[in-house]
């Protein structure tokens, strides 16, 4: 994979490298957006993998400092809520799906704008919800009356039966995350990425159509990395054993429970804000059934999430 000099220069020059990395990642996925879904997911992932590999080797601080700091300290988008906007959180939606949805909306005549948003630390739903609540509570913006309603999400559990009145200001779709969870090693495959995306797209379109708000903000609580071979980094046996013992199938653990300085030194995990977080695409198999789409760690595809604004 060839990385342009201009990109490297801009990452080095700027105080905040994240916009450049975000843009590069978007470009990778954009390149494949015209391919059929299966190829899009495959080729895009291949290239994103190589890019992340380069970044991990060349710019380790990005994973141990820059990215986690941005996730922890960047204010939640809910802080800037206005009265005429509606938030739609697509649980587990990654850049991959964000790019596709953006393109699909354009085809329907909308002019969506996509920008970078962040997961919480760790990159899971619970932490995102906690961060969102705490950000909103500390917000001094004149969105107080709106923010009092934050936390009371209308929930989408069934894509075939989306029951909303249109007046909702906050909607939480459990898709695509629930479908990702069902794709497990050792399980009968009852879902696949293409199917998952189509369901997510259908939900977004229906919500955009039904919501009364002028502006619809579609965002995600976290993305995911893929466990399949070729898309993840391997580990030496000893480290893999230690990681398996400590993390099991999770991608993070609290620092209260154990001292993993050795693994931090080895560069497989980072310690941040009281957590040990698995870096980038390091994964290890665990006995029994486990999901092959993981989140909770600190990687580009888990932590950088799409935020799409659609004006009606």
């Amino acid at each position: 994979m060839k990385i342009e000099n201009t990109f490297i220069k801009s990452v080095l020059r700027e105080a905040n490298p994240i916009p450049h990395i975000w843009q590069h990642l978007c470009d990778i996925w954009h390149k494949h957006v015209t391919e059929d879904l299966k190829d899009y997911y495959y080729h895009g992932e291949e290239e994103a993998f190589l890019f992340e590999d380069f970044l991990l080797k060349a710019y380790d601080e990005f994973f141990s400092k820059e990215l986690p700091r941005a996730c922890l300290n960047t204010p939640s988008p809910f802080q800037s809520a206005s009265h005429d906007s509606c938030f739609v959180v697509m649980d587990g939606m990654s850049i991959r799906e964000g790019i596709l949805i953006c393109e699909a909306l354009k085809k329907e005549g909308f002019t969506p704008r996509m920008r970078c948003s962040f997961s919480a630390i760790p990159s899971d739903t619970q932490s995102f919800r906690e961060k969102m609540k705490s950000d909103v509570a500390n917000s001094s913006l004149p969105a107080a009356s709106f923010t009092t309603r934050i936390g009371k999400f209308a929930e989408i559990n069934n894509p075939k039966k989306i029951m909303i009145s249109g007046k909702e200001k906050c909607i939480w779709s459990h898709f695509p995350d629930v479908m990702l969870d069902k794709i497990q090693v050792g399980h009968t495959v009852i879902s696949d990425l293409e199917n998952m995306y189509r369901t997510s797209e259908q939900i977004v379109f229906e919500l955009v159509r039904k919501a009364h708000a002028k502006k619809i903000i579609i965002l995600s609580d976290h993305g995911y990395i893929r466990f399949e071979s070729g898309f993840s980094f391997s580990l030496p046996e000893a480290s893999r054993k230690k990681l398996r013992e400590t993390f099991a199938s999770s991608r993070f653990t609290t620092m209260n429970t154990t001292d993993l300085s050795e693994l931090v030194g080895d560069g497989y995990i980072t310690e941040f804000s009281g957590y040990y977080l698995v870096k980038s695409r390091y994964v290890w198999p665990v006995p029994g059934k486990y999901s092959i789409y993981l989140h909770g760690g600190i990687s580009l595809m888990e932590c950088l999430t799409p935020l799409i604004e659609v004006e009606k």
């Binding site: 509570a137 500390n138 001094s140 107080a144 209260n256 310690e271 804000s273 009281g274 957590y275």
Partner: protein
């Protein structure tokens, strides 16, 4: 009043405190005066239980030829009466004359042989390799022993038995059998087993009158197998059908000849007073039971039976009789009926020592209740009973209530009602009272809660609200004095001030007599107020009760502290949810001011920020103030007016005015006259002083005058240095905010990681509060060592240690 001694006579040994609960077979031929060695005495205290009757029937069948089987196993747990039964049978067969009378008395019609050969063996006495040796010796056939090769043959045993009746009694065989080493002494085991097999074969021979009696716990599988080959008779002596009669017979003389009339009188006295909540299903039957079990209350016997039956090691009927014997000795001449509360709790120390100690520990806590100790003892006994686990109200009353001795059921019920919450280990589960090894914090708190007054609760709510919710940055109205000065103050109201007229009335009362009226940020609850919240007041009551308990209760698991912390957290959440609104004043129709309530989140910084006015509004008011003032307005007066009069926009500090003035000056909408009359028209003063005067630009002197005046250098004055445009900088305004981060973890590493993640490289830190909650308690030496290794940094250090100190006594 009729007493037990008027109705039934305890056996002498009971009254003398010499009750012999344990009967030992190896003492049968003892020279001491013992029950075991005296046929007459032993038989007189022996009740013919159904089990014993069955054994005698089987003996009769064997001797009359109705059955072949002469081997009889007496089975049952420890203390069930196996040995007693064995010795009784031994004496019956050994002393046919005494036996005859005894059998007649008990109306048992069997003919025992006149002079059988008998021998009794207890392995407690004979530690031998071959059990046949003492048996044959005691049967006076030592001569056979040299002829035995590996084990006695059937012929040899038959030769010893001969044609006469022969009875062999073997006790405690399992201990002896179990002492063989299965590997090293396999040969001995096998030879003895073969002997038993042969012995039992001969006992099962219709032509031989051999009786073999053996007590058997059925614990040793090897023996069980050997015995079962000839299918000996098994008699379970632990069956409880005769238990009460056995107990009465063993403890009282002529137990079957009680004075029924007197018993009826006593029992009637109880039955008449047994009213609700004492629950008796069938009073007629119950009365019959009370008569049967007299002088014991039926509930006493039932409960003790269950307690002692529950585990083999509890010594079953023997253990029960020991307890009852002591009870009789202490009470037979004082009471009319023996109840559970008359038991000596020390008898149960062997069953659950820790629980009995808990009961003893709690006794002093109920000393002021007349029936406190009796109630607790009853509950203890019911707790020890695995079948009941605890006592119902009815159980307790039946265990304590003694109406013939002047007790009133109501008084007892009152004590039972008042007792809960006093003892530390008394629990209540549904309808059951019971003792537990762990502290009943809930009950203690419930009791303690009654001592907490509403006034104290209110003060505590005020304290929590001020400290935990508003970071000590508010003054609580009604709980502390509200100063009337120029500083900005946040006033927290704990109760609702209502709406409209009610709100206005309360505000009027608040502002009455105050000069600095525009320095108060009044924070009102958005609900009915925290003092009116049932949930908050109840939780606070619990906290206070728990805090009171802290010094009184030994709480090793720190349950109370955890509960206080948990409850406090919940109260804080509830209080936060109750706030809030702040009062803003809006001018309407000239001078008329009306209050407007603004919603705010319960965050002290957010409230403060919300209370402040828009800088442009402050600027407008300043302009308004100087508009018609040809003499200008002195800054000090302007600021004081803003702080004194509610018609002005609320300012959070003097800087709000200074900043507005600087902006207005920059926009040329006012001019400033500084020290010594120096005019600042275009130039901005380095800093603004309270003595400066501000003017509407229309009152400013012409530029030339200013320059001239400015040029004049008075005597003694220093020549001001010339300033370039670059040097004239606006005064620096502090553009930083104070933040607080809470950190939590179990090691400095975790705290460090949080600081690293959540702060910026340019942040400056003015303090850190660190609290260590140790996972285990530290000794003084350890805490000293801990403090010594804290880092040294220039500054003040404050600390608070939490420790547990034992009472002096």
């Amino acid at each position: 009043m009729i007493l037990i001694k008027d109705i039934i006579k305890p056996r002498r040994e009971i009254l003398e405190g010499k009750f012999q609960g344990v009967i030992q077979s190896h003492k049968v031929d003892s020279k001491e005066k013992r029950l075991e060695s005296n046929s007459q005495d032993l038989l007189s205290v022996t009740y013919v239980s159904s089990a014993l009757k069955r054994v005698l029937e089987r003996v009769n069948e064997k001797l009359t030829g109705a059955s072949n089987q002469g081997a009889i196993l007496l089975i049952g747990p420890y203390g069930a009466g196996k040995t007693h039964g064995l010795i009784t049978l031994y004496h019956l067969l050994k002393e046919p004359k005494i036996a005859k009378n005894w059998l007649r008395n008990w109306k048992i019609d069997i003919a025992l042989p006149s002079s059988p050969k008998t021998c009794i063996i207890s392995t407690r006495r004979y530690d031998v390799d071959f059990l046949w040796e003492p048996i044959f010796s005691k049967l006076s056939r030592k001569d056979i022993l040299p002829k035995i090769k590996r084990f006695p043959t059937i012929d040899q045993i038959e030769e010893i038995v001969g044609d006469e009746t022969c009875a062999i009694f073997i006790d405690e065989i399992e201990n002896w059998y179990g002492s063989f080493d299965a590997e090293k002494q396999a040969d001995l085991i096998e030879r003895n087993e073969t002997f038993f097999e042969h012995l039992f074969e001969v006992a099962n021979d219709p032509n031989r009158k051999l009786l073999v009696f053996l007590t058997f716990l059925e614990e040793k599988e090897g023996l069980k197998k050997v015995f079962n080959r000839t299918k000996p008779v098994r008699i379970d002596v632990s069956v409880t059908e005769d238990r009460e009669k056995i107990v009465l017979h063993r403890l009282f003389e002529d137990a079957d000849k009680k004075d029924l009339e007197k018993i009826e009188e006593v029992v009637q006295g109880y039955m008449e007073k047994y009213t609700e909540p004492i629950h008796i299903e069938n009073p007629y039957n119950y009365k019959q039971r009370m008569t049967e079990t007299y002088p014991f209350h039926p509930l006493l016997l039932e409960t003790l039976t269950q307690v002692y039956e529950a585990a083999t090691e509890r010594q079953d009927i023997r253990g029960m009789m020991n307890v009852l014997a002591d009870m009789i000795k202490d009470n037979y001449d004082k009471k009319d009926l023996l109840l559970i509360s008359h038991l000596d709790e020390n008898a149960f120390r062997g069953i659950d020592l820790r629980l009995v100690e808990k009961y003893n520990y709690d006794l002093k806590r109920v000393s002021e209740l007349a029936y406190g100790a009796d109630i607790l003892k009853s509950i203890l006994v019911f707790t020890l009973n695995d079948k009941t686990i605890g006592a119902t109200e009815s159980d307790v009353l039946l265990s304590v209530f003694s109406p013939n001795q002047g007790q009133a059921l109501n008084a007892l019920m009152m004590d039972l009602e008042n007792i809960y919450g006093k003892p530390h280990y008394l629990h209540k589960e549904g309808d059951l009272y019971l003792f537990r090894h762990d502290l009943n914090i809930f009950a203690l708190m419930e009791k303690e809660k009654k001592n907490i007054t509403n006034e104290v609760i209110k003060n505590k709510i005020a304290e929590i609200t001020k400290r935990d919710v508003f970071e000590n940055r508010v003054l609580i109205y009604g709980f502390e004095s509200i100063p009337d000065d120029s500083k900005i103050k946040m006033i927290l109201i704990l109760e609702s001030w209502g709406e409209n007229d009610s709100l206005k009335d309360n505000l009027t009362t608040f502002y009455r007599g105050k000069s600095w009226q525009n320095t108060y940020i009044i924070i009102l609850p958005s609900t009915d107020g925290v003092l009116s919240s049932y949930e908050i007041t109840e939780k606070t009551r619990r906290i206070l009760a728990a805090e009171n308990l802290l010094g009184q209760v030994e709480d090793k698991e720190r349950k109370i502290q955890k509960l206080v912390a948990e409850e406090r957290g919940q109260i804080v959440d509830k209080i936060k949810a109750s706030y809030g609104r702040i009062v803003k004043w809006v001018a309407r129709e000239k001078e008329l001011l009306v209050p407007r309530l603004i919603n705010v989140s319960c965050d002290i910084s957010a409230i403060r920020e919300k209370a402040g006015s828009d800088p442009s509004l402050v600027a407008d008011y300043i302009l308004q103030e100087i508009k018609e003032e040809a003499q200008g307005v002195r800054l000090e007066i302007l600021i004081n007016d803003f702080k004194k009069l509610r018609k002005f926009p609320f300012i959070l500090d003097d800087e709000a005015i200074f900043s507005a003035i600087r902006n207005l000056h920059r926009d040329k909408r006012l001019v400033i006259q500084g020290d010594r009359g120096k005019w600042y028209i275009t130039e901005i003063p380095k800093s603004l002083e309270f003595g400066f005067v501000i003017f509407d630009p229309k009152y400013a002197p012409p530029e030339e005058t200013i320059e001239k005046e400015g040029d004049k250098i008075r005597e003694g004055e220093e020549i001001p240095e010339e300033k370039t445009d670059q040097e004239v900088k606006p005064p620096e305004v502090e553009r930083r905010e104070k933040k607080q981060l809470s950190l939590r973890g179990n090691s400095p590493r975790v705290i460090l990681s949080n600081i690293e993640a959540r702060t910026q490289s340019k942040d400056l830190f003015s303090g850190i509060d660190i609290k260590y909650q140790f996972a285990r308690e530290l000794s003084k030496q350890e805490i000293m060592k801990f403090i010594k290794q804290l880092p040294q940094e220039e500054g003040e250090i404050e600390g608070e240690v939490e420790l547990w100190r034992e009472h002096e006594d």
